[in-house]
């Protein structure tokens, strides 16, 4: 693979990652933002694949498979799965429109500005690096910040989970871009953690729904009172 086409492929993957994380902010529908998250997982796997091909590292292949299966398929499936048809019908409202804590337009503009902040803080660190992958590192930082933004501004538990997972994808992106990935074992462990956390939170949100009727996390205050 030539250096220019490598840089271009990295650029396309980075663009796709950034696009999907904007989409998680943009969509009001929970289903759609979970789909965007799935697409982000696939884009991340593609990015790892590009890095692997460039470095000709065979041990990255299981990592690619892991990322693709876990982030692209399993996690989105867990988030959208409904237990029973009856519960699904009742949860219909919950999977629909998300209400936000702030003006949606303001959130979108904030996402754009966060991308700029990410660029401003990361660029000086990677500017001298010769690798095109390192140059795309600000994208990963932007994903982390945008994930945080989603986490902050959504009311429903599932949407917050989307934000959390987007944040995690951002961390993974930075790791792969800067160091070509973490050791397989570590990656495996981290992924398992994420899966576990997600499962627990999904179960929690089911519990919330049975108690409160929806998963608006503001209701948690009622527990305190």
């Amino acid at each position: 693979m030539t250096q220019t086409s490598y840089a271009e492929l990295i650029g396309v993957c980075a663009g796709a990652l950034l696009l999907t994380s904007v989409l998680t902010v943009w969509y009001r529908s929970q289903r759609a933002s979970v789909r965007a998250l799935g697409a982000q997982g696939v884009a991340l796997a593609a990015l790892v694949a590009v890095v692997a091909i460039d470095r000709a590292e065979a041990e990255l292949i299981p990592v690619i498979a892991l990322v693709l299966v876990l982030k692209g398929l399993v996690l989105p499936w867990v988030l959208t799965r409904r237990r029973t048809p009856a519960a699904g019908a009742r949860a219909g409202a919950d999977h629909g429109e998300e209400t936000m804590l702030l003006n949606p337009v303001a959130i979108l503009v904030a996402a754009a500005l966060l991308a700029v902040v990410a660029y401003a803080v990361t660029w000086p660190l990677v500017a001298d690096s010769l690798s095109p992958a390192a140059h795309a590192a600000p994208v990963g930082v932007a994903m982390v910040l945008i994930g945080f933004l989603v986490l902050l501004t959504r009311r429903r538990a599932i949407s917050q989970l989307v934000g959390f997972l987007a944040l995690d994808n951002g961390i993974a992106t930075v790791a792969f871009l800067i160091s070509g990935g973490v050791p397989l074992l570590l990656e495996f462990g981290a992924s398992l953690d994420i899966l576990l956390v997600t499962l627990i939170l999904v179960v929690f949100s089911r519990q919330m729904r049975t108690v409160f009727g929806d998963t608006d996390v503001d209701r948690m205050r009622e527990l305190h009172d």
Binding site: N103, V105, A106, V116, Y119, A120, W123, P124, A127
Partner: protein, 672 residues
């Protein structure tokens, strides 16, 4: 004595003549003669300015102030440009005033203040040292305050506007005084050439920059120092608001240019960022307020804030780009700033004078009560429409050319030879482009509203239905202004090259005349040739016109029918969309920024909750900068005033006691 000196002497002579003629007893004669003298004074001012722009040096010196330091008025090229600007506006305003003003605004005081105000404005750019600058600056402020008070001196709105204006003027004066003071102390002289010897990165220069930008920014009407503007412009007589908005505000810009171009051409890059933030904020805030305003003159006043914001933004971009060594784009940004200055002056004077004619004809400045003026005042409507094109930055107007140059300079500012140059510039430019674009979009909406609601459709009130066209002289002034807008938009090449000549010369030329008097920015590889565009449009338009004529020839008859009223004749004029309803979507979209006060009052019929007798809805948008920033400060000052009143109870003996105590303290301190 050079030509400039002679011209300036003549200006002084005519200013004196205008002031003397203002004392004549008969109102009509006073207006015509004093107005004519002011007009001639301004015409001579144009000559002075053009001479100075072309590099003719010279001026006047008065050895009156401090014996050692004479007052010097010797304009340089940049000053010359602003003299031309102030003089052309002065000329239009004086003629308009002579032909139209009656009653209170034609009083002796008002006619006496006009030459003072105009002369002050024409002298500010000529001043060559800090003392004379401050002197004429104060003359300008004083003259405009008196003129603002001219009409309905008893009306509470006018007096409140005058108080705001006077306070903000003095505040601005104090900041400028302090700024020049700091610089003079560092330079050891008040002469401008001495001031520019201070190193740009030294602490006095930085402090002076902050103080001077505050002072000049307040005069220019930058947010958050703009609060006087939407109060003073609407309440002043229309020709005065035209002069204030088109010319006086530009003196604030001249001041900022003085700092960043003449004194410290190599300022640090954060100066640019400061100016970008101030300018961008003013542009967006100004146009948002303008777009939701229903009062025609308030709308124009806020639009001034917007335009001044764009100018300062362009200057800021130029400073930032210069600091990062991107000279081609920096030069283009500075050219854009100057083009915006000229273009805004021309279209805004026309808009304000046309609004004055509307006010004169209908007694209304509320757009919600206007409408249908296009048929009743065709000349005024045409002039307003053309000037509105300029304000909305649509082709083929001066506004379009200047925004085009601005956008080109911003778009080409990030990269030199295909590579990103600096992080800060790469971040700033997209944000600035977005700000300029949003401003441009809202400006189009604002002026479609102003023209469409004010001049089209059916009149919404009896006053609008009974409107009449203004006098011939007034029409001529309006047409001259509108012609200027079109001319500068059609053949921008000569103007652009003339504007560049007032800037310090750089290596490569910033702009060249290209094609049919279009502009070419050689450093950026961008060409704009409006005349070619017009020719192309004319050729294409001929097909449409021929087809229309053929159709009209076959079906010549036009049936005038009632407007669409659901099948009836019930569509009343008051059922039309008003300015308020037109701006409603904008209010909703920018709800968080504008924070309108809404009130819905429902009266139920009898006992039923479901039958509604009447619903009363009211909504008002206030200036949140004023209510959130100034009101708290004013409250604190008010409280302080109560305390001070206790100390100051009017007893002479108490005051003497204070003085005595002060003397004692001074003596004690001096001996220590």
């Amino acid at each position: 004595m050079t030509a400039v000196s002679w011209a300036m002497l003549l200006q002084f002579a005519f200013a004196g003549l205008a002031a003397a003629l203002a004392l004549l007893p008969a109102e009509r004669i006073r207006s015509v003669l004093s107005g004519a003298a002011s007009a001639v004074m301004s015409a001579v001012g144009v000559v002075t300015g053009v001479l100075a722009m072309n590099g003719v040096t010279g001026g006047l010196q008065f050895a009156v102030a401090v014996p050692a330091v004479p007052l010097t008025f010797a304009p340089d090229r940049l000053g010359g440009l602003f003299i031309v600007l102030a003089s052309v506006i002065g000329l239009l305003v004086a003629v308009y005033g002579a032909a139209s003003v009656r009653g209170a605004s034609a009083s002796r005081t008002a006619w006496f203040a006009l030459p003072l105000f105009l002369m002050g404005m024409q002298l500010v750019p000529a001043a060559a040292d800090a003392v004379s600058f401050l002197l004429v600056w104060e003359a300008m402020a004083l003259g405009s305050t008196v003129l603002l008070l001219a009409e309905h001196a008893g009306s509470s709105r006018v007096s409140s506007a005058a108080v705001w204006y006077a306070v903000m003027s003095q505040l601005s004066f104090l900041f400028i005084l302090a700024g020049f003071g700091v610089l003079s102390a560092a330079a050891g002289g008040t002469d401008f050439s001495a001031l520019s010897a201070v190193a740009p990165a030294s602490p006095p220069a930085l402090l002076a920059f902050v103080l001077l930008v505050l002072g000049f920014g307040s005069k220019a009407g930058l947010v958050p120092l703009h609060v006087w503007l939407p109060r003073a412009h609407p309440e002043a007589p229309s020709h005065v608001s035209a002069a204030m908005s088109a010319a006086m505000v530009k003196m604030g810009i001249y001041g900022i240019l003085l700092v960043v171009v003449r004194f410290f051409p190599g300022g640090p890059d954060w100066w640019g960022i400061v100016l970008l933030v101030l300018g961008g904020g003013s542009a967006v805030y100004g146009i948002l307020q303008a777009s939701v305003s229903s009062d025609l003159k308030v709308l124009l006043a806020y639009s001034t804030t917007e335009n001044v914001g764009l100018i300062v933004l362009a200057i800021g971009a130029s400073v930032l780009l210069t600091a990062h060594g991107i000279t081609a784009a920096a030069g283009a940004a500075m050219l854009a700033a100057l083009l915006l200055v000229v273009s805004h002056a021309v279209f805004k004077v026309t808009l304000f004078l046309a609004a004055g004619s509307v006010l004169h004809a209908t007694g209304e400045r509320n757009l919600d009560h206007l409408g249908g003026l296009g048929r009743r005042m065709p000349w005024t409507a045409a002039a307003f429409g053309i000037a509105a094109l300029g304000a909305a930055a649509l082709p083929i107007s001066s506004g379009f050319v200047s925004e085009w140059v601005l956008l080109q300079s911003l778009v080409h500012g990030t990269r030199v030879g295909g590579a990103a140059v600096s992080v800060i510039v790469s971040i700033a430019m997209p944000i600035v482009v977005a700000v300029v674009a949003l401003t441009a979009g809202l400006a189009v909406l604002t002026f479609v509203k102003a023209y469409g609601i004010g001049f089209l459709a059916r009149p919404r009130s009896a006053a609008a239905a009974g409107a009449h066209e203004s006098s011939r002289v007034v029409r001529a002034v309006l047409i001259a202004g509108a012609a200027g807008v079109v001319l500068l938009g059609l053949v921008p090449g000569p103007l652009a090259t003339a504007l560049v000549s007032v800037l310090p010369a750089s290596g490569t030329p910033i702009v060249e005349s290209a094609g049919l008097l279009g502009v070419n920015l050689p450093g950026l590889g961008a060409v704009l040739d409006p005349l070619v565009l017009v020719i192309l449009t004319a050729v294409l338009a001929s097909f449409v016109i021929i087809a229309t004529l053929r159709s009209a020839w076959r079906n010549p008859q036009r049936i005038d029918a009632f407007a669409w009223g659901g099948g009836g004749e019930r569509a009343q004029p008051r059922m039309q969309y008003t300015a308020t309803s037109f701006a409603e979507p904008v209010v909703r979209v920018f709800d968080d920024v504008l924070q309108p006060a809404r009130d819905v009052e429902v009266t139920h019929a009898g006992e039923s909750r479901y039958l509604v007798n009447r619903v009363r809805f009211s909504q008002s948008v206030t200036d949140i900068v004023e209510s959130r920033l100034y009101r708290p400060v004013l409250t604190v000052i008010d409280r302080f005033g109560v305390v001070v009143r206790r100390i100051q109870n009017g007893s002479i003996h108490l005051y003497l006691l204070y003085s005595f105590a002060a003397v004692i303290v001074v003596l004690v301190v001096a001996t220590l």
